[in-house]
């Protein structure tokens, strides 16, 4: 359960990226967050990953205010959240296997677990043949699938996907949305931010619409304002 309770974020006492945002996301939900650039979508996700602190309100994850946690506890929280970004954010010096293994190493998994789980998770995203490739040898869609594999390899409770299809062609966009839907069907909460109406329509689940740092609509049937 994720709770945003009157969360505000001001930068330099002037620009207000979030204005008393409140909502609750339950277990196994698939929630799309939509809105124009500057609406506050990415700031919202940063709050959830404890990348940034709110200037007002609280963010609760399973009832715990994540911004009061120690560094070590924040690392534990992050290991329970898988992140996927528009620009993939793969480690360029590591091959596909090592990129995914890194997330498992950070979670303290053994070499045996890594050797058995990484090929398995790559099969799930149809990238088994690219296991020893480096990021620069992959297409945009392949990179994003590696990023998804990295996000799910530790079997997180939540997947955060920040504009994951922003750099992809329609075919890859469709594939990525299908993968996220499958992950959600397996019981993982998915939070997706996007501009893409096609993506929101194809998901067909709850949509939170944001504008100017505020939630202007929260519709469980997938309706939105863009």
């Amino acid at each position: 359960m994720i709770t945003f309770d009157k969360v505000s974020k001001k930068y330099n006492d002037e620009y207000e990226a979030l204005k008393e945002v409140s909502f609750v996301i339950g277990p196994n939900e698939f929630v799309s967050i939509v809105g124009p650039s500057g609406a506050g979508k990415t700031t919202l996700l940063k709050m959830l990953l404890a990348e940034d602190k709110p200037t007002g309100g609280t963010v609760l994850l399973q009832g715990v205010n994540i911004h009061t946690l120690s560094d070590r506890e924040i690392n534990d929280v992050r290991r329970k959240i898988g992140s996927v970004f528009q620009d993939f954010r793969l480690l360029p010096q590591k091959n596909v296997f090592e990129n995914i293994a890194f997330a498992m190493e950070a979670a303290g998994k053994s070499d045996e677990e890594i050797d058995s789980d990484v090929p398995h998770v790559l099969e799930l995203v149809d990238l088994g043949s690219k296991i020893w490739s480096f990021p620069h040898e992959l297409s945009g869609g392949e990179k994003q699938r590696v990023a998804i594999a990295r996000a799910i390899v530790n079997q997180p409770d939540i997947i955060i996907a920040d504009e994951p299809t922003g750099n992809l062609d329609p075919v890859n966009t469709y594939d990525i949305v299908e993968i996220l839907k499958r992950i959600n069907d397996l019981g993982t909460t998915v939070i997706l931010t996007t501009h893409n109406k096609g993506v929101i329509d194809s998901v067909g689940k709850r949509v939170i619409t944001m504008q100017g740092g505020k939630v202007i609509r929260d519709d469980p049937t997938g309706k939105y304002i863009l």
Binding site: D76, R89, E105, A106
Partner: protein, 312 residues
């Protein structure tokens, strides 16, 4: 169990650091080139210090004070005084030149001067007195030494004066000037060396910081997947260490042909010190200085740089 987890973590950090060093290619080579320049400056400072030290030591050795005795002075009185002088803490060495040796040396010096030698023959007796050649540990100590010899009423066993003259007072101005030059050269050399080393280290620090700046996105990703700060810092520190180690080894190898080439020049130019011979004779110390400097600069600057991007 905890020990095995630590071992696994350490193994992964070392492996990741090594791979990062190897795969970074151009960035590693660029960092190494700058590091080699820094280490060469450090090595240069070591050799310049040795050359300066040897030159100044040679100059110091050229300074001495001679005490000339009356021809009537007894050898036992002179040797007694020699023992007293030797016991003084500021004295490095005292050499006794007997009347006979002084005469021999005089004749040798004037062997082509027939008139002087003839005059000496005509005198019949040895006109030269014995002498003590005194070397102090520092040129600045000659004055107090000379004053002691001058003021102390040094007499023979029979109570008569035995010292004829002390040459310090004739050379006083030159000795003091030399002392000031040696002192200034020492301080200037140290100051310049320190400045060069500091500048080189700052340049290397910034190069490595720049190399890690390229990885700032990676660092944030590592944090977002829940890696601990030490687990993120570790590979960067290992990479920095490896850059330092490789640069140190290359610098040590490059020094062989370079010093071999300039060794002869320094030998002719700087009072006999061949830097190549100095390098070979002091290889273990120089090896340790260069390796310790390289690895410490590499690891420390990486640590400083990566800390900057661990702010999530």
């Amino acid at each position: 169990m905890e020990q095995s987890a630590f071992k696994t973590k350490l193994k992964r950090i070392l492996k990741s650091g090594f791979f990062s060093f190897w795969r970074s290619g151009f960035v590693s080579v660029a960092s190494m080139l700058v590091m080699i320049v820094t280490l060469s400056v450090i090595a240069g400072v070591v050799f310049t210090g040795a050359i300066l030290g040897a030159t100044l030591e040679e100059l110091r050795n050229k300074v001495d004070v001679n005490v000339y005795f009356l021809t009537t002075a007894e050898e036992t009185d002179i040797l007694g005084l020699k023992s007293r002088i030797e016991a003084m803490p500021e004295v490095a060495k005292v050499e006794y030149v007997s009347r006979e040796k002084a005469l021999e040396a005089f004749k040798e010096r004037h062997e082509s001067d027939a008139i002087t030698l003839q005059a000496l023959e005509e005198l019949g007796d040895n006109p030269l007195g014995a002498a003590l050649n005194i070397k102090a540990k520092e040129p600045s100590q000659y004055e107090s030494l000379a004053n002691f010899l001058n003021e102390e009423n040094i007499l023979s066993n029979q109570g008569s004066r035995i010292i004829d003259k002390i040459n310090y007072f004739e050379n006083k101005v030159a000795i003091e000037k030399l002392d000031r030059i040696i002192d200034s050269a020492d301080r200037l050399g140290f100051g310049l060396s320190l400045a060069l080393v500091v500048i080189s280290i700052i340049i290397t620090l910034n190069t490595i910081r720049l190399a890690i700046y390229i990885s700032r996105e990676e660092i944030s990703v590592m944090q977002l997947v829940g890696a601990s700060k030490n687990y993120i810092k570790g590979p960067f520190v290992i990479t920095g260490f490896l850059v330092g180690l490789s640069s140190s080894l290359i610098t040590l190898i490059l020094l062989f042909p370079v010093l071999y080439w300039i060794g002869g020049l320094t030998e002719n130019f700087f009072i006999g010190l061949n830097v190549f011979d100095y390098y070979i004779q002091n290889f273990i110390q120089i090896f340790l200085i260069i390796i310790a400097s390289g690895t410490a600069i590499g690891a420390f600057s990486s640590l400083l740089a990566v800390r900057k991007y661990l702010k999530l």
